[in-house]
């Protein structure tokens, strides 16, 4: 594990940096004056460049360098980041990503074209610069920059690797006049000294207005084995000896905030800017430092763990929960009080261990939301429909596997919302709406579920169209009495979507059946609501985790089954009159007709049914279905095990679990059962109508 491929580490790191970069660029499109965004984009770029060079991604390094150089004028506030510029920058980002992830597929020509675009943008309009504010914001840091203050501390074994700090210092001196003070307090007594260890540290003042990169380049190969603290020298000091104690007491400098301060060479080239009072500079720098410090702290508090290890841990905990259930069952059967006490203790420990482990797998959904901003940005440009994209509830946590599974369905829903939901500008104007459409992506906790909603303020669903289409395809009898809600369900019908006409006219339904299936595979549900002229909301209801659920244990004949408790609405006794109406299979639940399925028939159970049959009413969204079982046993902490490929053709079970006595029990797939019951009802409808 320790011998993890360093290139892979770089790839992972880079992909996180890309997210930061993309986020910053997109935000910049909204708030072009936010300096902090430009800086964070630059920080990300810079790190990609640096580590790219270290891991041998030379193309990445050189392209990023060019990108950086071209974008530099934005950083200096000389030009405003326009939408076009940001689009090019995003393309550049994609190109770097391709260079890292799949170098074979990229072409230098694309890279050059992007760079040319970039250069064209940044060189065209020097005059357009919003000179006053931005220049003012930037000038102070630069105007006084006259060199660097470095603090060097090498790891003691550095000499054994063949690196010589003195050579490095010599290289550093080539950059400009240096004032080097060795710090000798780490040097031990002679008899304790290992001649092969490096005990010295150095404090260097470099009086040269060189680029930070130049300094980084000097230490490039020993970066991992040293501590380098860089800070700009704010004024030219006479190279006077610095008292030693001062150096020792000095707090370690915060990590370089170099991107803040443009290279001094540039200052010399453009010294036109007014000299503002130096105080403002201090004020401006302060919050940045704080933020850096915060980032540091967070860095220490988190550990990167491979996802598979977490999965493994979850498996073990699952087994522990099963073993604990067996122990509890045994203990409660016996009469030994002390064993009962231990069983209770272990039960408590196991359940808190389970919660902790599940917590470790939780990831805020915000990491996913970030990806869609780019999607919305690109789509709104391609379709020339201005769209405002609002997200909320980014902190809502979900199991990491769920987050991965959610990406595709959400892309689909958002694409649908922009493509078909939001009307074009003219239509919107005619309807008296704002020109800019609005898409809201929100996540919120609701009990043991998470609701993710995609809401647009477009034209809404065209119910009549959908109905006509459903009749045309023979899904419903002409003139059948259906609620709007029932009609909208046809959008999830496989094949319904492929019809070109409907997707062109009223939209929705392109691959909605796939979305629905994905969500249901996660034991979630999907719901549509729409208001003509005001927009559509798609709500995804998802369980918090995929690994363990609360279940209701039932018995059908000899077999025991689990129904996910989140789907259970109520349990009622099957009345004699319902029992008698064999052909109809409808329950009367407080005046509502609910179709029911006899699990005994479904499971081909043998033996005689229990005298008092129980009905469990389950629901997905608005649809309710009754399941008739022999006995309701009770609650069961269900550790979900998936069924193997050999049983992939069995649809009514979503998985299996292990009961307290060690036998396997199957988990009923609620969505499939509801669909099954509904199709029976539909058949009945059609046969009755015919």
């Amino acid at each position: 594990m320790s011998a993890m491929d360093p290139t892979e580490v770089f790839r992972q790191e880079a992909s996180e940096l890309f997210e930061v970069l993309e986020g910053a660029l997109l935000d910049l499109g909204q708030r072009p004056d936010d300096r902090e965004l430009v800086d964070s984009a630059f920080r990300a770029l810079h790190t990609i460049k640096g580590s790219g060079a270290m891991f041998g991604f030379d193309k990445v390094a050189s392209f990023t360098h060019e990108f950086e150089t071209a974008f530099d004028r934005v950083r200096k506030g000389e030009i405003r980041p326009t939408q076009e510029l940001i689009s090019v920058a995003l393309a550049a980002k994609d190109y770097i990503r391709a260079l890292i992830e799949d170098p074979q597929s990229t072409d230098d020509i694309i890279g050059e074209a992007i760079l040319d675009d970039l250069k064209r943008f940044v060189s065209s309009d020097r005059l357009e610069a919003p000179a006053a504010e931005v220049a003012e914001a930037l000038a102070p840091a630069e105007s006084k920059q006259a060199g660097w203050h470095l603090y060097l501390e090498f790891e003691s074994h550095i000499l054994r690797n063949g690196s010589n700090p003195l050579d490095l210092l010599e290289d550093l001196c080539k950059l400009g006049p240096c004032f080097v003070v060795p710090i000798t307090d780490g040097v031990p007594f002679l008899d304790e000294m290992d001649p092969e260890d490096c005990y010295l540290k150095w404090d260097v003042k470099l009086h040269a207005a060189c680029d930070k990169d130049a300094i980084d380049d000097v230490f490039m190969f020993v970066q991992d084995e040293m501590k380098l603290t860089l800070s700009p020298l704010e004024h030219v000091e006479a190279p006077a000896p610095v008292p030693l104690f001062q150096l020792l007491d000095e707090e370690p400098m915060p990590p370089p905030v170099m991107e803040k301060t443009a290279p001094a060479a540039e200052v010399a080239a453009a010294p036109v800017v007014d000299e503002p009072e130096p105080k403002s500079e201090i004020k401006r720098e302060a919050p940045v430092r704080r933020e850096e410090a915060k980032r540091e702290e967070r860095g220490i508090a988190t550990v990167r763990v491979q996802a598979e290890r977490l999965d493994e841990l979850m498996d073990r905990v699952g087994e522990l929960v099963i073993a604990q259930a067996r122990l509890t069952q045994l203990a409660s059967a016996g009469s030994d009080l002390s064993i009962k006490l231990i069983a209770e203790e272990i039960e408590r420990l196991a359940s808190s261990l389970r919660d902790t482990t599940m917590g470790a797998r939780m990831v805020p959904i915000g990491s996913l939301f970030g990806r869609f901003r780019r999607l919305v940005h690109d789509l709104s440009r391609d379709l020339s429909k201005p769209v405002e994209f609002v997200t909320s509830g980014e902190d809502t946590e979900l199991d990491k596997t769920m987050i991965e599974c959610l990406a595709d369905p959400l892309v689909h829903l958002i694409r649908n919302a922009i493509d078909h939901g939001i009307e074009d500008t003219a239509t919107r104007a005619a309807a008296g709406k704002t020109e800019q459409g609005r898409i809201e992506l929100a996540a919120v906790h609701s009990g043991a579920q998470v609701l993710v909603t995609v809401k647009d303020n477009g034209g809404g669903l065209n119910t009549a169209r959908i109905r006509a289409k459903a009749e045309e395809q023979g899904l419903i009898a002409a003139g059948a009495a259906l609620t709007d809600h029932e009609i909208h369900q046809f959008l999830f019908h496989p094949g319904f979507s492929t019809a070109q006409t409907i997707s062109a006219l009223s939209g929705r339904g392109v691959g909605m059946d796939v979305v629905k299936r994905t969500i249901e595979n996660m034991r979630g549900s999907i719901d549509l609501s729409t208001r003509p002229g005001q927009g559509t909301t798609v709500t995804l209801r998802l369980p918090l985790t995929l690994a363990i659920i609360e279940g209701l244990l039932i018995r059908v004949g000899e077999g025991r089954y689990i129904i996910p408790l989140s789907a259970v609405e109520e349990c009622v006794e099957l009345k004699a009159e319902d029992e008698r109406s064999r052909g109809r299979n409808f329950l009367n639940v407080r005046g509502n007709l609910v179709p029911f399925l006899r699990l005994r028939e479904l499971m081909t159970a043998s033996g005689t049914p229990d005298q008092h049959q129980k009905t469990i009413i389950i629901s997905t969204g608005e649809t309710r279905v009754g399941l008739v079982a022999d006995q309701i046993i009770g609650n069961h902490q269900t550790v979900i095990k998936s069924l193997s490929k050999l049983h992939s053709d069995v649809t009514i079970f979503s998985g299996a679990t292990i009961l307290g006595d060690g036998t396997a029990a199957l988990i009923l797939d609620v969505a499939q059962l509801v669909a099954l019951a509904q199709s029976k009802v539909e058949k009945q409808h059609i046969s009755e109508a015919a």
Partner: protein, 153 residues
Amino acid sequence: MNLGQAGEHQADAMQVVMIGLGEEKFALDAGLVREIIDPVPVTKVAGARSFVPSVINVRGNVIPLADLRIRFGMPQTDTSADTRIVVIEIQIDNKPVLVGVTADKVYEVTEISQTDVQQTPRVGMHWKPEFIRFITKWREEFVIVPNMERILN
């Protein structure tokens, strides 16, 4: 892989687990076998294909239990004191899958020689030829080396 290992001392030998199903003997490639366990309670899976009618719990994993007798059109036999479940690992869509196989009796782990391989006769057999890798001789008896991947797919 197994063939290769066995080949180190005898070029055509193959390590197998000899099991009995009804009147017939089958030789399972020992490389596929993970463990052999006593019968455990089975859970019937409604709607599953007939040759994988149930699932069992093996060490916290729920795995399918296959019945080769159904695949080979052999009569069902009742569970006896000799009945065992042989857990094998096969590749389905290039992913390893654990499957339990009911055996009326497990004889021994042994070596069979591939020089004795008999041509699979086209007639006179009540099972499909594609389920059989080859037929060989072991102690003057014919044994069938089944193609588990094919049987279970």
